[in-house]
Amino acid sequence: EDQVTQSPEALRLQEGESSSLNCSYTVSGLRGLFWYRQDPGKGPEFLFTLYSAGEEKEKERLKATLTKKESFLHITAPKPEDSATYLCAVLANTGNQFYFGTGTSLTVIP
């Protein structure tokens, strides 16, 4: 069965303290791995799609990387406005649905 697991569930960082969020997945052939940011009461906001192992993408203080079993979202020198829940989702080669992880709730303290 296709599965996505995110860790940690929650993360508190001091402003400027870099860290990484993890997304482990098992799918029968990966078509794409997606990272989203979700603010309370809002829809998931698209950040990145990664397609193959070794790929990296960057946006401001965020960098996403992908291996054959997991993806990392690295946050460099975070600011309070980076506080949100970060969701990982995978799209398998078979089927059209996205499988979501439970998310990592990030709090950045000034």
Partner: protein, 111 residues
């Protein structure tokens, strides 16, 4: 930046009533989705729609639910005989190849 639009943003309905949630997907996208998120829980798949028909649906998407693309731009989710446990945020998404965008959601409250 492309945008998926959902209306209404908040809907309150009495148990047993029918509701229709509306979405305008991104115009050149081919796949459309409905997901829901109960407060504090995971985003759950309901249904995907491609080429004017359902391509996949989850166990949650039973006879109480239906989807339509009535006019080539709107994409609707109908929930019949609403139950208290249907209270959730409902998100529409649209996808072209491997770019997928979500709307801001409709918060459905069943009382």
């Amino acid at each position: 930046e492309p945008e998926v639009t959902q209306t209404p943003s908040h809907q309150v309905t009495q148990m047993g009533q029918e509701v229709i949630l509306r979405c305008v997907p991104i115009s050149n996208h081919l796949y459309f989705y409905w997901y829901r998120q109960i407060l504090g829980q995971k985003v759950e798949f309901l249904v995907s729609f491609y080429n004017n028909e359902i391509s996949e649906k989850s166990e949650i998407f039973d006879d109480q639910f239906s989807v339509e693309r009535p006019d080539g731009s709107n994409f609707t989710l109908k929930i019949r005989s609403t139950k208290l446990e249907d209270s959730a945020m409902y998100f529409c998404a649209s996808r072209f190849l491997t770019e997928a965008f979500f709307g801001q959601g409709t918060r459905l409250t069943v009382v």
